[in-house]
Each structure stands twice: as structure tokens, then as C-alpha cells.
């Protein structure tokens, strides 16, 4: 049975691209446009991996990630962070540091936009095979 990936991104173009890419590589796809919808889909779809955008309206990726890791039911689902910001772009948005400070389990991978297809697929395969 194919593994399912939940893509959470507010950019329709990004969702289109990622879902097409992962579908072509044999994964099932579910999508959400923000954190709120994303949490709902996590519960309902029970994905094997989550691709999470950092900056989104309503509920940002950061907020959602914290909720995700706090919830024991879903805390172990691997997360690939897909973000438009490098760590040097905006210091206040240094997500890795933010995570370290709060002693939260780090995401399984960070992928920076524009997304390198091979890197993304490699990260996904490493996490869920």
C-alpha cells in the first residue's frame, strides 16, 4: 500500500507542484492550505509524512508543528519542513534555533524553496521508505 503524504501550503502552485511530484513517485496525496486545515487533515487522513510550509495565514507552520509534536497521537509522524526562508534571511525566524530552545523534537528534514526534486524525494524516502 502506497504511503500517504500530507502537503500543507498556502501557495496553490506549490501544492500543485509537490502533489504532482510525489504522486509521480508513487505516494498518495492529501493537501491543506493552512495550519488549521492541516491539523484536521492530520487527524482525518493519518498521513505517513507531512510536508509543512512555514509561513501561512491563519495558523503558521510553526504553530502547527508545535501542536503536532505535543499531540502524542500524531507526534511521531515524520515532518519535512518546506520553507521559503533560509536561516540567514530573517534571524527572528530561525526555526531550528526556536526548536532547540524549546526542546522539541526536530523535523526529519528541512527543504528550502525553490525545492530541489531529488533532495525532497531523498528526504521523503529516508523518512518513510
Amino acid at each position: 500500500m502506497a504511503k500517504k503524504v500530507l502537503i500543507i501550503d498556502d501557495e496553490p502552485d506549490m501544492v500543485m507542484f509537490l502533489s504532482t511530484l510525489l504522486e509521480d513517485n508513487g505516494y498518495d496525496i492529501a493537501t491543506a492550505v493552512d495550519g488549521e486545515e492541516g491539523m484536521e487533515k492530520v487527524k482525518s487522513e493519518k498521513p505517513d509524512l507531512i510536508s509543512l510550509d512555514l509561513l501561512m495565514p491563519n495558523k503558521t507552520g510553526i504553530k502547527m508543528y508545535r501542536e503536532l509534536r505535543k499531540d502524542p497521537e500524531v507526534a511521531d509522524i515524520p515532518v519535512v519542513m518546506v520553507t521559503g526562508f533560509g536561516k540567514d534571511d530573517i534571524p527572528s525566524m530561525d526555526f531550528k534555533k526556536w526548536i532547540q530552545e524549546r526542546a522539541i523534537k526536530a523535523p526529519e528534514a528541512y527543504i528550502e524553496k525553490p525545492v530541489d526534486k531529488a533532495v525532497l524525494l531523498d528526504a521523503v524516502r529516508k523518512a518513510i521508505g
Binding site: D10, D13, M16, T20, L55
Partner: protein, 746 residues
């Protein structure tokens, strides 16, 4: 020969021994003469008196003898008696006169005289008249005559012979003449003896006193003379104390004391002379003594080392190389007024220009006249150079101070402005004497965090950022202070440097904005790039798998993102360059309708109410419709975004308004969305500032403001977080005149 004699005589007569002996002898001689005269005179008187008394007695005797003889009437006897008397008694002559004065008898052998004398001698008549015994010394003092009157006596008047009547008182006169030859001889002998004695006495006293002077006084004087001569040569040294108690010894002792005193003084004088000579010779400046004809009389070592031997030459020629006296000669002035003078001169020392300070002092002679002048010259070239250098430096610093591109003020401990630079004067006017805070801050109290005060306290430099309000505009100033100390290191004042950094601050913030902008822009581009990348992949995937719908979707993505890039580039170009508005006659009401129509469906999808609070016919205006359209569209689009972010439990509403009032077009877009905090409001019109993440370009409001400003208008914004935002645009309207030229509506 004669000269030598005369010289010796003069020497002799002027010698002390001669004077003393001569005058002592002379005085003795004269005293003896006076005494001799007196005693000879007395002796002569006594002799004459004795002769007179003898003659009177003799004449009595003769009278008595004659009377007796007359009684006996023996005339011959009388005559013999008289002869005898004449012979015996050394009587020169005896004459008898009768009462009538006729000579009746004379002992003189010359008998003829009797007859001749029969005529009465008036002298005899005088003698007869007096009836008394009289004596007389002849004029040649050779004889003495005594006249004795023969008076009538009773015997005579009663005598029987030729009796004289008793009434006849005087019968005749007896005259006895005595020779004074003996007396004269005695007196003459006595006088001669006295004179000889006097001369001998004079000679002996003179000789004795002369010898006494020669042997007793002269050696002492000679010794004193010799000592004085030795003393004058500075050789005398009274080693042995003088013995003796007389005046000469006392004099010698006094002389010794004096000479010791003089020796001491001379030694002191010599010591100080040596000291002054050393001072003169070794003084570290050029010292010369110049005479009245400007010739160098003496020079010191420093002078000789530099100029060589110049004594005897003219001072101006010697070391200044001139042919005549200097124009402003301090030596001359000192000779004239006897005071010290000073001048600054330029000499050529070793062929180089040397600055020399010349000072002169008078040297007085014993009459108090200026005999010579001491000229002291100090080479102050190094000092002068330093002085010039210092002046130059001071000028430089003054220039720097005056022309520094910041406000420079020097304030004292009471915060009074003491000194200001040009820029300060230019911008603030003359304010010396006022307090710094009065001028800079327009306040009457010291600033709370005053850097001037801190510098006065710790002597360090301090800085503070200040904001001044001048003519309603805020100016950012950085104030730096530095201490100004006096020679003792005491801080007398503080220099305050105020630099206007408003422009720098503006540039700084613009730079920060630019940084953020570029980050924002690269994010935007990155998003577009992701879209393109995604589109291309989807198209590829569709083509590869033969899924036509997927190709269409992918291609839409590609087109969409290409359009985004196109918009971005256009926006960038508009925002950075701007353009002239293309004015057309339009009704802004129509424009607002169009914009609202455009956003209606999107507003509905956001659940936002779009309220059209304007008349669709506002009237024709000259506007650039494309510019105004994009400006207002941006505002409405922003309002929609704000509502999307805002409170979802409240009815979100956007009100679009417009009206024309007093020749002005007012447009307003207000929402009750999220509103903005102050920091967002401040950055609102900055290029590439976006709060919309991947969806905004950060150029919308920049373009809006640019369009409004190109129309000569302004845009205001009021906003509060959670309350909403209102943008108001105000544009002064233009009209077309008959020529079609643009003119502002008044």
C-alpha cells in the same frame, strides 16, 4: 742750572719743615721786636725824665747861685759859677733873659749872639707869659731845654741895688739847655743789641723747629707716604702693629685701620668683579659693550665663538654686516635717555635668517653719564619658528573650527556659550553669552542627560543623541563633547560638537529598508520561481504521462507566474523611475465604480462587504486614469488583505468614498480590519515592504503614493491595531484652459 735751583728752592720753601720753622721763627722774631720797641721806648722816656728832673734841679741851683751872687753883686762870680756848671754838668748852654725877653747872658761862646738876640724871641715871650717851669726837646731830639722863670722876691724888691718894684712879678727867665747825645747813644746801642738778639733768636728757633720736623715728623710722613703708595698699588699689608703713644703713632694706627678696611673692600670688589666677569663671559647669549661711537669695546665668549674677534669694529658692521647704524637702534636710544631698550632684529647667522632679541642697558660713569651701553642679544630663531608654527597651527585649527561642517560651540561651566563657529552663527545667529540649552533646545533648564556636564565632571568625551525641533521639523543631532583644559589641566570649558545626522539617519533607515526590501523581493522572486518550477514540472509530468489536463494546469501555472514577474518588473520600474501623468478628462466617480466592480467578487469570497459611499457622477476632472486606478486598486486590495487578517467574528467592511470640494478631489478607502501597529505604519510607503508574504510585491503603496504625488496631492493614513485603517487621498484639481495648457484651479 737756574731752573734746577729754582725747582729746589720751590721744593724747599714748600716743604713742611721749612714752613713750620720759618713761621715759628718769624712769629718769635716779630714778638721780640714788639717787646724790644716797648722796652726801649720806656727806657728812653725814663732817661729823658731823669734828665729833665736833673735839669730842673740844676736850674734851681743856678737860680739860687745867681740870686746869692746878685746879692753880693759879684757878676764875675756868677759868670764863673755858670761856666763851671756848664762844664761840670754836661750842660750845653745856659741863657738868661730879662723880663722883657731880651737875652742878657749866654754861656755860648758866641757873644755876638747876645746883641743879635736883643730882639725878643717869640718863643721866649711865650715861656715868660706862663710863669712856670717848662721843658722842651729840640726838634732834632739832640737837646733838652728847661725854662725856669725868675720871680720877684721880697729880697729883690727890697734890695738896695737896682731894686725891682714889688709889683713886678717876673724878673727874667733862666734857660738851661742839655745835650741828649748820651741818651741817644744809649738808646741806639740798646736798639742794636735787641735786633741782633732777635735775629739770633729767630735763627735758632727756626733751626731747632726745622730740625725737629725733619727728624721727628718727616720720617713718619715719609713712611705714611710710602705706605699710601704701596696701598695704591695694592701691595700694602700692615703686618706689624705700630708701637708708640704719640700722635704720629696714632696716625699710623689710623692709617693701618684704614688700609685694612680698604684691603677688605678691595678683595670684595675683586671677588664681585670676577663673578661679574664670569657672568659676562659665560652668559649663554651674545654680550657686547658698545661705546658712544658704536664701536665694540668688549665681547663675551659666546659672541667670540660665533663672530670672532670684533673689538674695535662698529657694532653694525661687526656682526650685522651693515655700513651704517641700524634704523631703530636701541643702543642709540639708551645713550639718549639712559634707559633700557629692546628690539627684535633679523640677522644672517651662518647665512641663515636668524631672529634675535636685542636688549640694551646703560653703563654709567662716575658722573652719572652713560659712558657705554651693554648690548645683550639672544638668538630666538627656534622660538620664533615655533611661534610661527604655533600661529599657523592655531590658524589651521581656527579654520577647522570655523569651517567644520557641524555646529561647534565652546561653553563655560555655567553653560554659557563662549565661542561659536560659522555654521552655528549662520543657522542660529549671534548667541554668545546665552546658555546652550536656551539656544539649541529652546528651554530654560539644563538637559537631563547633559554630556557637557559629564565632561566637566570626568574630563572624558561624551556623546548623546538629541532631537531638536526647529520650525516644527525634527532634527536628529549627535552631540559630542570634549574638555578644554588650561595650563594646569583644569577644565575651563567644554567644546560641544553638534552634528546634524538627520540625513544620515534617513539614509541609514533607508538602507535598512533596502536590506529588508531586497530580502522581501528575493522572497517574492523565489515564490514566483517556485511557481514556474512547479508549472514546468507539472507540464513535463503531463506530457510524459500523456495527461493533457495536467499539461493545461501546468501551463496555467507557468503563465500565471510569468505575469507575476511582468507585474513585478513593471512595478519596480514605476516605483524607481516614475512617469509624467497622462491627464485625461475623466469622472473619478466612474473610476471608483470600475475599481469596486473589479474587487466585488474577491470581497465576497473573503466575506467582506464593499460599501460604495460615493456618487458615480462626481464631475469631470483632469486625472491620469491609469495611475489613479492602480493607486486606488492598491488601497482596496490592501484593505481586503487587512480584513482577511482581522477579527473573523466581526462583519468585515470596506468603505470606498469620493467627493470634490473647493477644487480638490478627496478619495478615501477605509476598512475595519486588522489595523497596523506604529512600526508597520512608519514603513508603509517603503519600497518592497510587504506584510503579505509571497503574495505582495512590496511596491503597491509606493506606487500609490507616487501617483498621488505626481498629481500634486498627498496621502494620509490613520490606523490602530484591531480598529482598522483609513487612507485619504487629496488631489488639487487641474482644468483645461482654451489653449489646452494645464493650469491649476485656484
Amino acid at each position: 742750572m737756574l731752573n734746577i735751583f729754582a725747582h729746589l728752592l720751590k721744593k724747599f720753601t714748600s716743604s713742611l719743615s721749612f714752613k713750620l720753622s720759618f713761621y715759628a721763627g718769624l712769629i718769635m722774631f716779630l714778638a721780640l721786636l714788639a717787646f724790644s720797641y716797648h722796652s726801649i721806648f720806656t727806657h728812653e722816656q725814663n732817661l729823658i725824665n731823669r734828665m729833665i728832673r736833673g735839669a730842673v734841679k740844676d736850674s734851681g741851683v743856678i737860680k739860687a747861685a745867681i740870686w746869692n751872687s746878685m746879692m753880693t753883686k759879684d757878676r764875675e762870680l756868677i759868670r764863673q759859677i755858670l761856666h763851671a756848671i756848664v762844664r761840670e754838668q754836661n750842660i750845653e748852654e745856659i741863657n738868661l733873659y730879662d723880663a722883657k725877653g731880651r737875652l742878657r747872658y749866654t754861656s755860648s761862646p758866641n757873644s755876638a749872639r747876645v746883641a743879635a738876640e736883643s730882639a725878643v724871641d717869640p718863643r721866649i715871650r711865650g715861656l715868660l707869659a706862663s710863669h712856670r717851669v717848662r721843658h722842651e726837646i729840640s726838634q732834632d731830639r739832640k737837646s733838652l731845654s728847661v725854662a725856669n722863670p725868675i720871680l720877684n722876691t721880697d729880697s729883690c724888691s727890697t734890695a738896695k741895688c737896682h731894686a725891682h718894684p714889688s709889683s713886678e712879678k717876673l724878673l727874667g727867665l733862666l734857660e738851661v739847655k742839655l745835650s741828649l747825645a748820651g741818651v741817644n747813644r744809649e738808646i741806639s746801642n740798646s736798639s742794636r743789641n735787641t735786633i741782633i738778639f732777635a735775629i739770633l733768636l729767630f735763627l735758632s728757633i727756626s733751626t731747632i723747629s726745622g730740625l725737629a720736623v725733619v727728624f721727628l715728623v718727616n720720617p713718619g710722613i715719609k713712611k705714611l707716604q710710602a705706605s699710601a703708595a704701596r696701598m695704591a698699588r695694592g701691595e700694602y699689608n700692615p703686618d706689624r702693629p705700630t708701637t708708640g703713644t704719640d700722635e704720629m703713632a696714632e696716625l699710623e694706627r689710623a692709617f693701618d685701620r684704614m688700609s685694612r678696611e680698604i684691603n677688605d673692600r678691595t678683595r670684595q670688589l675683586e671677588a664681585s668683579r670676577k663673578m661679574y666677569k664670569a657672568l659676562f663671559d659665560d652668559a649663554p647669549c651674545y654680550l657686547t659693550v658698545v661705546s658712544k661711537d658704536y664701536r665694540i669695546v668688549r665681547t663675551n665668549n659666546a659672541f667670540r665663538e660665533t663672530f670672532g674677534e670684533q673689538v674695535g669694529k662698529h657694532c653694525y658692521a661687526g656682526y650685522k654686516g651693515l655700513t651704517s647704524k641700524c634704523v631703530n637702534c636701541p643702543v642709540e636710544r639708551t645713550f639718549i635717555d639712559g634707559a633700557s631698550h629692546q628690539s627684535e632684529e633679523i640677522w644672517a647667522l651662518d647665512g641663515k635668517k636668524a631672529y634675535v632679541i636685542v636688549k640694551t642697558s646703560p653703563i654709567f660713569d662716575e658722573l652719572g653719564q652713560v659712558a657705554e651701553v651693554l648690548e645683550m642679544s639672544v638668538d630666538v630663531t627656534r622660538l620664533k619658528r615655533l611661534q610661527i608654527e604655533l600661529q599657523k597651527k592655531e590658524q589651521e585649527y581656527r579654520y577647522l573650527f570655523e569651517n567644520a561642517p557641524c555646529y561647534l560651540t565652546v561653553v563655560d561651566r555655567d553653560f554659557n556659550i563662549v565661542q561659536t563657529n560659522k555654521l552655528f552663527d549662520q543657522d542660529f545667529g549671534e548667541h554668545t553669552g546665552m546658555k546652550c540649552f536656551q539656544v539649541y533646545k529652546k528651554q530654560d533648564f539644563k538637559c537631563s542627560n547633559c554630556p557637557v556636564e559629564k565632561t566637566f565632571v570626568d574630563g572624558g568625551t561624551h556623546h548623546s543623541d538629541e532631537t531638536w525641533r526647529r520650525n516644527g521639523e525634527a532634527t536628529n543631532i549627535i552631540v559630542s563633547t570634549a574638555p578644554i583644559r588650561d595650563d594646569n589641566g583644569y577644565i575651563t570649558s567644554v567644546m560641544e560638537m553638534c552634528t546634524n545626522i538627520t540625513e544620515i539617519k534617513r539614509l541609514q533607515s533607508e538602507l535598512a529598508i533596502l536590506g529588508e526590501t531586497i530580502a522581501g523581493m528575493s522572497h517574492t522572486i523565489k515564490n514566483i520561481l517556485c511557481g514556474l518550477q512547479g508549472g514546468v514540472y507539472v507540464v513535463d509530468s503531463g506530457l510524459l504521462r500523456g495527461k493533457q489536463d495536467r499539461v493545461g494546469l501546468g501551463w496555467d501555472m507557468v503563465k500565471n507566474n510569468v505575469e507575476k514577474i511582468s507585474d513585478l518588473v513593471k512595478g519596480i520600474l514605476y516605483a524607481s523611475k516614475g512617469r509624467e501623468p497622462e491627464y485625461q478628462e475623466v469622472d473619478p466617480g466612474n473610476l471608483l465604480q470600475e475599481i469596486c466592480d473589479l474587487f466585488e467578487s474577491k470581497a465576497q469570497s473573503y466575506g467582506v462587504e464593499l460599501v460604495r459611499a460615493f456618487d458615480s457622477r462626481l464631475g469631470k476632472c483632469l486625472l491620469d486614469p491609469t495611475g489613479i486606478h492602480s493607486a486606488v486598486s492598491n488601497l482596496v486590495s490592501n484593505a481586503l488583505e487587512a480584513c482577511g487578517k482581522g477579527d473573523s467574528f466581526r462583519q468585515q467592511r470596506i468603505i470606498v468614498g469620493g467627493c470634490i470640494e473647493a477644487g480638490r478631489l478627496f478619495l478615501q478607502v477605509s476598512d475595519n480590519g486588522a489595523g497596523m501597529p506604529l512600526e508597520v505604519k512608519e514603513k508603509l510607503f517603503n519600497k518592497f515592504y510587504s506584510t503579505k508574504g509571497g503574495k505582495g510585491t512590496g511596491l503597491g503603496l509606493v506606487i500609490t503614493r507616487k501617483v498621488i504625488e505626481e498629481h500634486g496631492g498627498v496621502i494620509h493614513v490613520e490606523s490602530a491595531p484591531g480598529q482598522g485603517t483609513t487612507f485619504t487621498v487629496e488631489i488639487p484639481l487641474k482644468s483645461i484652459d482654451t489653449d489646452g495648457a494645464l493650469k491649476a484651479v485656484v
